[in-house]
């Protein structure tokens, strides 16, 4: 396990090397960075992932229009094909859709939404799963039995089914006219509730091992309260596998969001994510306007592939036993 990725692994007695150069030097000397440099595929995947995140962050600077603002759209500009084709028009690099929305701008904004939902969904799932896993592992007994039973049952159902159900129930409780931001929140919750099990199981397993170690006994002896022992001392030692799961889950969360939006149970047309864009574009496939669906599709596939490759590498790098 490397200090670069899991700084908590530092011996408690050692002074924390927070000064810039020392920290950087250690990171560059680490096994992780070595294995990163050895794999060209991983470096490409990391670069592509970084590129996608940057595109999402700077979407409003890079886009030629705000695709969410109806006032900026002109029907005159609808159904223009990509720039390099015969009918292409500047500044619409990847063409426009039925409403005169620039496909490139829509992808940038959609990417932002997809990533926001994905990242928040993973954070929510991780927070829920880690908390329940810590409790189950540390407390044990009937509490453990109950939490793990729920986890077992949930694991037999595909995440997409659970996410769809959560979505449908939320719609029915809050009414069918949710605004875009609340829909985003519902999606985050739906994804979180579908993916927490893996974190809970992993954390529980590590906690069961960790809690029998001497440092936990020592912490108990000096009278630290249980929550403090769990979160300050046990949790940091379970973080390695969590990082791997979170990376792979980010790809799954992005796929789930895109699928929900594609099925019409996610982001609305007024604030489209990549999945919504693909659903809209799919309607124009038969009219020969392939670019409306193709480019969001390529963006989504590229994003998922890059994150997956990164996750696979991280899993191997953090776990030498699997090599």
């Amino acid at each position: 396990m490397s200090d670069a990725v899991v700084p908590h692994r530092v011996e408690p007695s050692a002074p924390r090397a927070r000064s810039g150069t020392g920290w950087l030097k250690r990171a560059l000397d680490s096994d992780i960075f070595y294995s990163f440099r050895r794999s060209r595929m991983t470096m490409v995947a990391a670069a592509v992932t970084l590129l996608f995140f940057l595109l999402a962050v700077f979407a409003s600077q890079l886009a030629v229009q705000n695709p969410f603002d109806p006032a900026q759209l002109q029907l005159m500009n609808s159904r223009i094909s990509p720039l390099w084709t015969a009918d292409g028009q500047s500044p619409f690099l990847l063409g426009t859709d039925e409403q005169g929305r620039d496909v490139f701008s829509a992808i940038l904004y959609g990417l932002r939404i997809s990533l926001v939902v994905g990242v928040l969904g993973v954070i929510f799932a991780a927070a829920l799963g880690i908390t329940l896993g810590l409790i189950a592992g540390y407390v044990g007994g009937a509490v453990d039995g109950l939490i793990m039973r729920i986890a077992d049952v949930q694991l037999t159902f595909p995440a997409i089914l659970i996410a769809l159900l959560v979505n449908g129930v939320a719609k029915s409780v809050f009414g069918n006219r949710l605004d875009a931001m609340s829909t985003l929140a519902v999606l985050v919750v739906a994804i979180g509730l579908s993916f927490w099990v893996q974190y809970a199981r992993t954390v529980r397993g590590s906690v069961m091992v960790e809690k029998n170690k001497d440092y936990v006994a020592a912490a108990q002896l000096i009278g630290l309260p249980a929550p403090k022992i769990i979160f300050r001392h046990v949790l940091p030692n379970t973080m390695g596998p969590i990082l791997v799961i979170a990376t792979i889950n980010l790809a799954l969360a992005v796929i789930t969001e895109a699928t929900l939006s594609f099925l019409g149970a996610g982001m609305p047309d007024t604030m489209p994510s990549l999945g919504t864009l693909i659903r809209i574009g799919n309607n124009y496939l038969f009219a020969g306007e392939w670019w409306i669906v193709a480019f969001p599709g390529i963006a989504l596939a590229g994003l998922i592939l890059a994150i997956n490759l990164l996750g696979d590498w991280l899993r191997d790098a953090l776990n030498p036993k699997l090599r």
Partner: protein
């Protein structure tokens, strides 16, 4: 053995009761069922009458017992959007989904096993590299993108296959089948590939890994020493031993094939249970959602139970859970 079977059966019943509670709570508490039946200007007294006639003023446990008793007889109430009993709707749609899921599973098994065996026996050939690329795509690409890609290739560009629906179906009793007409068979091809691609990838990787392991064992070496033909060794001895886990995984995955049919059915407008469910989620049709949840859970729990019991007879090595993306 008997104790294990009993314990698993009781667990399965527990799961079904838990799912039943969730389905009932959705049915009862997510939105007022009365509002869905009466119109906006129905007087309060009439609403009360409807409430009473539906039994919604009984204590909750009584209502739950009634819901469960009805569900056990496949009575799931009336759909809000179609104004028809949910069970009729589900029965009407079930053959389409089961046929699609079965075809997808057969496709996944046949091609998965062939590709797996080939890439285990000829490890460094060009074709093996292609198979591995296909398997990376099968795992990374979201199902709906694969479907759209196939439609663009074979319907829009080449015009070979229909892009939506089941084609002509033949009615046999209450079951409708597309397997007996040419247009029905043509309509099945792309949805089956879309739905089965992930399973195919999984089976291919599994067969490859198992074959490589088996080919290293002593009994294969001994078979070679006995002078058996390569064909007999590879297919008679090695492949046979890899098939048990493959069939187990394919069986376990059948449940998730049915669940994932939701996406494929939406892409291809396939008139199955999944499409019904997606429309129910879009239109907040709670009775259909609850009934679908119960049906799918029943299929899942039954498959898991059967497989778990078979494990104790066959081979415990495979007991890892396989998760898949959408």
């Amino acid at each position: 053995m008997l104790a294990f079977t009993l314990r698993r059966a009781i667990q399965a019943i527990g799961v079904m009761i838990a799912v039943g509670v969730i389905a009932f709570s959705m049915f009862r508490f997510a939105g007022d069922p009365v509002n869905q039946i009466v119109s906006l200007d129905t007087p309060a007294a009439e609403r009360e009458a409807v409430r009473k006639s539906l039994g919604l003023d009984d204590p909750v446990p009584v209502q739950f017992a009634r819901y469960f008793a009805n569900a056990a007889q496949f009575k799931f109430g009336v759909s809000y959007q179609f104004r028809q009993p949910v069970s009729n709707l589900l029965m009407e749609r079930m053959p389409a989904t089961l046929e699609l899921a079965a075809c997808a599973t057969v496709f996944a098994m046949v091609f998965g096993i062939l590709m797996g065996v080939y890439s285990a026996l000829r490890r460094d050939t060009f074709l093996t590299k292609i198979f591995q690329a296909v398997s990376l795509i099968g795992i990374s690409l979201p199902t709906f993108l694969i479907g759209i890609l196939l439609i663009y290739l074979f319907s829009v560009t080449l015009g070979w296959l229909p892009s939506f629906g089941r084609g002509d179906v033949v009615r046999i009793g209450w079951w409708t089948t597309g397997l007996l007409t040419l247009s029905g068979l043509k309509a099945l091809i792309m949805p089956s590939i879309t739905l089965g691609l992930f399973q195919m990838t999984l089976i291919m990787r599994l067969v490859r890994a198992e074959m490589l392991e088996v080919l290293r064992t002593d009994y294969i070496r001994f078979a070679r020493a006995r002078g058996l033909t390569t064909r007999a060794i590879h297919f008679g001895h090695a492949l046979k031993n890899t098939l048990v886990p493959v069939i187990t995984v394919a069986g376990l995955q059948f449940g998730s094939v049915i669940a994932f049919a939701i996406i494929t059915e939406t892409v291809f407008q396939w008139p199955g249970m999944g499409l019904l469910f997606v429309q129910a989620v879009q239109n907040v049709d709670i009775p259909i959602m609850a009934a679908y949840l119960l049906m799918v859970s029943l299929i899942f729990v039954t498959i898991n139970l059967v497989v778990d019991i078979l494990y104790t007879i066959v081979d415990p090595r495979l007991r890892s859970t396989i998760s898949r993306p959408a």
